[in-house]
């Protein structure tokens, strides 16, 4: 009976024969980079990391994992915030980092075919000269991959008007857990409609649990010819929230509607010196885009509504540069947190838009209850909140309080009719919440879908649904600074 060590060595050899020696990582120092994703509260060293360069290699790797009876986990850039690509014992992590090419751009049909490891913003960069862009723009877009976006059905600030990943992916190639290759949805030679079941839609957002996506056909949209980007400065989150409601009630659908509270504003200002007022209770970034005709009317209505709700001032980005700078501050907000705290827990919940003031009051009360600061930066137009719970990992009580505070906020989101995840996914972080959000029959129906693709649970196991490891009170073993 070969030892575990010998079995692993044999697997390493087999994988090296598929991708070449330099693309199989098996030493501890090499594997350390892959011990977690952006959810840093839990870590697990993968057994092996392999970096294929083609769909055929991915298929061979999965066949090899089957033969050796080990699970496998697809991984993009590792920016996921819920531990969706956390390794499990004996798992082979299949990194798509080398499969990052843009294969075809078809501006006439407004499509692009890319490999799953292609970085999100590279798509927009490649098609900008045709007056096109790829709409889903998560804040991590300079690092995250299209394959990863498919896995979590990623959003971003502009989803209010443009939708999320599932609205912009026409089809994709995927290697199934039995190593066969399928194409779901539209292939490059197809029209937009394929009929039959929408298995493409069912796989998007499945957090890498149904197979390894290798190539993706994305839909491109026309870059809006014009924009108006406004910054409303308010005394309170309540005023800003009311403004959000009023804008929507006026029949205006902004391209983006983002809110930042005072704590996060101060951190962002210290980091990026945009000129944000440090004493404002809340800032609202409102962006309208589209044809120039009618845009100014919309901007004037927005301005009026801000002032009506007590805005101290309403600024406008006057140039492309100012607009880009404003968005940089927003999209790098998480990165500015280091100025406030050695550690933070990023939360991701959703409430109906009309419940925003209520959840913000609850977050404030939770902050006081647990004695932790909780800055907020979020997609106000969607009701998708991102409370950032600050703590110091050197104090175990703060660690527990941070986790408990996050859990209470998520429970309140559910009580208000929302969801425990708007963008970041369930992963391992929120597996215990699935039974709170969904009834047993619904969860059973999800597990039935999983059996279609992965009856033996070899692909990214132990995620999303409670297991013995994650269904009880969470006590993190290790943490590192964010």
């Amino acid at each position: 009976m070969p030892s575990a060590h010998a079995k692993r060595a044999a697997l390493v050899d087999d994988l090296k024969r598929i991708v070449g020696t330099s693309h199989v990582l098996s030493s501890e120092s090499e594997l350390r980079v892959y011990e977690c994703d952006a959810y840093t509260l839990e870590k697990e060293l993968p057994s092996i990391v392999v970096l294929p360069d083609s769909t055929h290699q991915v298929s061979q790797i999965i066949a090899c994992c089957l033969q050796h009876e080990v699970p496998f986990i697809p991984r993009g850039a590792g920016t996921n915030l819920s531990g969706a690509v956390l390794a499990v014992p004996d798992a082979v992590v299949i990194s798509l980092a080398r499969m990052n090419r843009i294969l075809e751009v078809d501006p006439t049909n407004r499509r692009a075919l890319v490999e799953a490891g292609c970085v999100n913003v590279w798509v927009t960069n490649a098609v900008r000269r045709y007056g096109l862009l790829y709409a889903p723009d998560p804040s991590s877009q300079t690092a995250c991959t299209i394959g990863g976006n498919v896995a979590t059905n990623s959003g971003g600030p502009h989803t209010l008007k443009y939708g999320v990943t599932t609205n912009h992916v026409l089809g994709f190639e995927m290697v199934l857990p039995d190593a066969s290759v399928v194409w779901l949805g539209s292939a490059p030679s197809d029209g937009d409609d394929t009929g039959g079941l929408d298995l493409r839609g069912a796989v998007i957002g499945s957090e890498g649990m149904f197979g390894v996506v290798t190539r993706v056909l994305v839909n491109l949209v026309e870059a809006p010819p014009s924009w108006r980007t406004l910054l409303g400065v308010f005394e309170s989150v309540e005023q800003a929230s009311q403004t959000v409601s009023d804008i929507i009630a006026a029949g205006i659908i902004p391209a983006a509607l983002e809110m930042m509270d005072q704590l996060i504003t101060r951190a962002v200002e210290a980091a990026y010196h945009f000129g944000f007022p440090l004493d404002a209770g809340a800032l609202l970034i409102i962006e309208l885009d589209g044809l120039e005709a009618g845009l100014e009317d919309g901007a004037c209505v927005v301005e009026r509504l801000c002032l009506q709700n007590g805005a101290r001032e309403v600024r406008r980005a006057r140039t492309d540069g100012e607009r880009a700078e404003l968005w940089k501050c927003r999209k790098r907000a998480f990165g500015a947190i280091g100025r406030l705290s050695p550690n933070f827990l990023t939360q991701d919940g959703v409430v109906p838009r009309s419940k925003l003031p209520e959840i913000m009051r609850f977050i404030h009360a939770t902050s006081l209850k647990f004695g932790l600061r909780i800055p907020n930066v979020f997609h106000a137009g969607d009701g998708n909140i991102h409370p950032l719970i600050l703590f110091d990992e050197s104090d175990p009580k703060q660690v527990k309080n941070a986790v408990d505070a996050g859990n209470e906020i998520l429970s309140e989101c559910l009580r208000l009719g929302g969801s425990v995840s708007g963008e970041h996914g369930i992963g391992v972080e929120k597996a215990s919440f699935m039974a709170q959000q969904f009834c047993p029959a619904t969860i059973e129906a999800m597990l039935t879908l999983r059996r279609v693709f992965d009856p033996d649970r070899r692909c990214n196991p132990d995620k999303m649904f409670p297991t013995s490891k994650h269904c009880i009170d969470f006590a993190p073993r290790r943490q590192i600074p964010a």
């Binding site: 959003g155 409609d193 959703v350």
Partner: protein
């Protein structure tokens, strides 16, 4: 071969579950479920732009109720008065506004579905962004009822646009139509409708209908631009209504192709009738008997059907194009 058992009495979900069980025991399929108990607009929250309705609710009545608060579910399939919300979702129906507004899958936030085993599930939710769990809603939309009986749907809404305007022009098929489409792309206007349709007794030409919606300023600017491109005839969407009134969907051939191939494909079609969503690459024409036969589903689709409806109580899978 199981035979259908139409359910004619009004039923709540318990009775429906019982009907499924009865069908299973007698080796028959269920037949069309009676959804007369689920015809209400259950909730409409205008400030959230969401609504929840029973899938038995007539489509036109739903849109009227939403319109009373200035909102709509942005799909405009040509339907009969009997068409329900459930029909629209089960068949993934859409109309000319597909170009500007998308399809049902872009608007459904949550569902209540009875599965073949009688259990009721609630995938999705009531919020506009939600990635918790697998996206089962996508599975049921357009599934023709083959995986479950849709009971309720929560949908995202949009404000009814301030103004809509339509214009038309006639264009020769082939290269001239291709050139017109290229010019429209370059013009950087954003039509919400771009259809073409055949003309009775006329060969080699199509009538192209373009539509805009939004604020008056935006629509006026774009309409003016379109008029300069030859779209001078005032128009509406009657071409779509007339086609679907004359041709039941079960006997319509649907062809889906990349939009760049449309112009040459249309030039090869029999002269009349057909309609085309120029912006989405879809051609609809009466189907011959051979064309009306369903196309085979993939192995994954058949496995999905087998797992969700092992006793074949529900309708067959929708055909691939």
């Amino acid at each position: 071969m199981p035979t259908s058992t139409p359910i004619t009495h009004a039923s709540g979900t318990q009775v429906l579950a019982q009907a499924l069980e009865t069908a299973r025991q007698s080796g028959r399929s269920l037949g069309p479920p009676d959804l007369r108990g689920v015809t209400d607009l259950i909730e409409h929250i205008p400030e959230d732009m969401t609504a929840t309705a029973g899938c038995g609710m007539p489509w036109n009545r739903l849109q009227s109720a939403l319109a009373s608060k200035g909102q709509w579910l942005p799909l405009n399939p040509s339907v009969s008065p009997a068409t329900t919300l459930g029909d629209v979702l089960n068949q993934d129906l859409f109309g000319p506004s597909r170009l500007g507004y998308g399809k049902a899958r872009d608007y459904v936030l949550g569902l209540k579905v009875m599965l073949a085993n009688g259990q009721v599930i609630s995938p999705g939710g009531r919020v506009v962004k939600n990635v918790a769990g697998f996206d089962l809603c996508k599975l049921f939309i357009g599934a023709a009822g083959s995986l479950g009986i849709l009971l309720e749907a929560t949908v995202k809404l949009l404000p009814i646009p301030e103004v809509e305007a339509y214009r038309a022009r006639v264009c020769p098929l082939g290269t001239p139509l291709q050139a017109l489409l290229s010019d429209l792309q370059l013009a950087r206007i954003s039509p919400c409708v771009l259809d073409a349709h055949s003309l009775p007794g006329v060969t080699g030409h199509a009538r192209v209908v373009i539509g805009f919606s939004g604020s008056r300023t935006t629509v006026d600017w774009q309409t003016h631009h379109a008029e300069h491109m030859g779209f001078t005839e005032p128009a509406d969407l009657s071409h779509d209504h007339e086609f679907w009134a004359a041709h039941p969907r079960s006997h319509v051939l649907v062809q889906s192709l990349p939009t760049s191939q449309l112009a040459s494909k249309l030039a090869q079609l029999p002269s009349h009738p057909w309609i085309c969503r120029l912006g989405n690459g879809l051609i609809y024409s009466p189907a011959s008997d051979a064309q009306a036969r369903p196309h085979q589903n993939s192995a994954l689709e058949r496995l999905t059907k087998q797992l969700y409806d092992p006793d074949n109580l529900l309708p067959p899978l929708p055909s691939r194009l």
